[in-house]
Amino acid sequence: MTRFPYGASAAVMAGLAVASGAYLAARRAHKPRYDLRLWTFAKTHGDAYLKMLPEFLRKHSGKSVDIQVVAGEAVTSRLQAAFWSNLDVPDLAEVEISWAGSFFRGRLESIGFRDLTERIHQTGLWERIVQARFAPYTTRGRIFGIPHDVHPVMLAYRRDLVEKLGIDVERLRTWDEFVEVGRRVTVPGKRFMMELPPEGLSALEVMLFQRGGGYFDAQGNCTLDNEIAIETMRYYAPLVAGKHRIGNDLGGGQIFTRALEDGYYLFMVAPDWRTKSIEQDVPKVAGRMALMPLPAFYPGGRRTSTWGGTMIGITKRCADPDLAWELIMHLYLNKEALAEQFRGTNILPPARDLWDHPAYDEPRPFWSNQPLGRLYANLAPETPPQYTSPYIGLAKAKLSEALIACVRYYDRYGVRGFDGFVRQQMARAAAEVRRQMRRNPYLHENA
């Protein structure tokens, strides 16, 4: 190797470097290009969209769309990284409701999604969709996402066991009536009236939203220490603590399956999406399950709440936002396709005018032949808003801390001094959220 000055090894290494670099460069050039690229975190969404895509492409000949399922939480971190680096940003992305707020932390012009406020009002979408569902995707008065769903909440229950225990669900109209029956039928360690986590927030949140409360108000102010939040905590903690508790929680996945099969829980909170999970995960209870509206907090009060959600947004990197908007309209508002999607996912679409399709009236054998779609659709207009903030994660953590403190207190001391303790814990939780929020110099611009 006299021609190469530093020997054969260096020549081979240099050759390999050039060859691999050339290969990568050539491969990049052959990467297929699409007019639109959509990221979703849910495989069920991705599968449904793939079925709906051919019709869209027929209407828009010459256009191409790539739908990518990016697993779970990764879609959020990848999207955040893509926005920050301005590289590999998709044209559209679906984001889970609890993560949406994290994209709205900075200045309005720095948010990676396009502001859709004008389009939503101009196209009449504001009137068609349950308006409360825009709340989680709104910051400083501007809307950055279209809701994929409504996710009203009902109670799912083991109809066979409930009937055997002589419980008349028609008479469970308020939570007080529900709790009274629950104290009668609960056998600690063996059977609980309801799946209620003593440390987790899922059921507490549902009750908080049902009462019209939440973590934040429409202006983004923390509301963890308002009267609704305090009263909800005061009501919830005794349901999972002390001698007269009626709820417990063992966990999700296979454990939930076993617990439901064994009759460990009689009732559980069930947004529309969870009914499909129950169908898939606990097939043994098919035909023995049924649904009922949530009991109200006072006679005539709201009989539903909300749990979970997804938005779709158009990113600022999207070269053809009009085409992206048309794709959203096709995927989120196509009556026939969404009815078919409902049969596969049990998820009610967000626009009211879609709910008159016969698919929503079909009886479901798993749910004791109840018309699942109609039950949810009847409650959907009442679905409460859940306002968000970039600090939603922190607020949840603080509410969780307050819940655990209150549950421990109630376990130890019962009602003695409990009201004051709850008030003190909620005030502390809210103060810590506000302390963090005060550090953010962007949050109150254009408010």
Partner: protein, 313 residues
């Protein structure tokens, strides 16, 4: 041919290296060879380090929105109850991990170093193997084992000591840390065992024979021969374990469902950093946390070195 016999002759015979510079390509060669590493290090090592020092003085939202705040991030950090909770959890985990893992690892090593144990190779592999699969796998595995009512841990404890079946290891705040410590014990004791085994094999047999002649029993041999003989390994394991424990993240993140768990009982310093940097988007604050952790680790490691030197003295 005349050979040089005086100093002057020898000096005259020595080649003149000052005048003859090597060719340009030979002078450049070393730089070219280190260039790939140097470029990668500068881009992916030095630049992020320097940038993170600068960022620690800003409140940020992603890399574009930045506001200079001086030492505010550090001031906020030191007054944030969540940070102190993370510090407390991390220190508790570290202390308990060291207190359990190191004696167990050493005990296993002594046992498997004995000539009387059959199938030593198999046991060495068996004890070390949990370390091969990584924290995420172990986290998933143990989150199933710790499940209430149906999990193996609760079933075993119920059958042996009558413990309640619905013990919520991963949702009752007071049980989260014991669950993490037990999991890491299963994972890391075998790795420490390998280090100690290597150390034990350097201790000379003659020293034990001499100790036996002097009348030392097993404990005496361990205390006066084994322990001093593997002191360097012990110091290494303590420092590496301390640093590893302070960097704890994946295990609780996976076991607690990508969260710090109820009451933030599984919140560690690195998890606190991750949440602030990548969930809340404040890279500036996360940088301040990272540098505080680095300085803390440096202080702890120096303290451990000093202590070990003092013990040696």
């Amino acid at each position: 041919m005349k050979t040089p016999d005086t100093l002057a002759d020898r000096a005259a015979a020595r080649p003149d290296t000052r005048r003859r510079r090597p060719p340009r390509r030979d002078r450049l060669a070393p730089y070219l060879f280190v260039a790939p590493f140097l470029i990668l290090f500068l881009v992916f090592g030095a630049y992020p380090l320097i940038k993170s020092v600068i960022l620690a003085f800003y409140i940020t939202s992603g890399p574009r929105d930045q506001v200079f705040v001086g030492l505010e991030n550090f001031r906020f950090l030191l007054t944030d109850p969540d940070f102190w909770k993370a510090v407390r959890n991390t220190v508790v985990y570290t202390v308990w991990s060291l207190a359990l893992q190191i004696p167990l690892g050493l005990g296993l090593a002594i046992l498997l170093n004995s000539r009387w144990v059959k199938g030593r190779e198999f046991f060495r592999l068996a004890f070390f193997s949990p370390n091969l699969v990584g924290q995420v796998f172990v986290g998933v595995l143990f989150s199933v084992l710790f499940v209430p009512q149906y999990g193996l841990v609760n079933r075993f404890l119920h059958a042996t000591v009558g413990a309640p079946l619905d013990t919520r290891w991963l949702s009752e705040p007071s049980l989260i840390m014991p669950a993490l410590i037990l999991t890491s014990l299963w994972m890391y004791a075998g790795m420490h065992m390998v280090y100690f085994l290597a150390g034990l094999q350097t201790v000379e047999r003659e020293l034990y024979e001499a100790a036996q002649l002097d009348g030392a029993n097993s404990w005496g041999q361990f205390w006066h021969v084994t322990l001093p003989g593997i002191r360097h390994v012990l110091i290494f394991v303590v420092i590496v374990s301390t640093i590893g424990s302070f960097q704890l993240f994946e295990l609780p993140w996976v076991m607690l469902g990508r969260s710090p768990g109820p009451d933030a009982a599984g919140l560690t310093i690195v998890m606190y950093l991750y949440i602030n940097g990548y969930v809340s988007g404040d890279l500036g604050y996360a940088s301040a946390v990272g540098w505080t952790l680095a300085l803390g680790l440096l202080a702890v490691s120096l303290l451990q070195l000093r202590l070990s030197e003092a013990l040696r003295g």
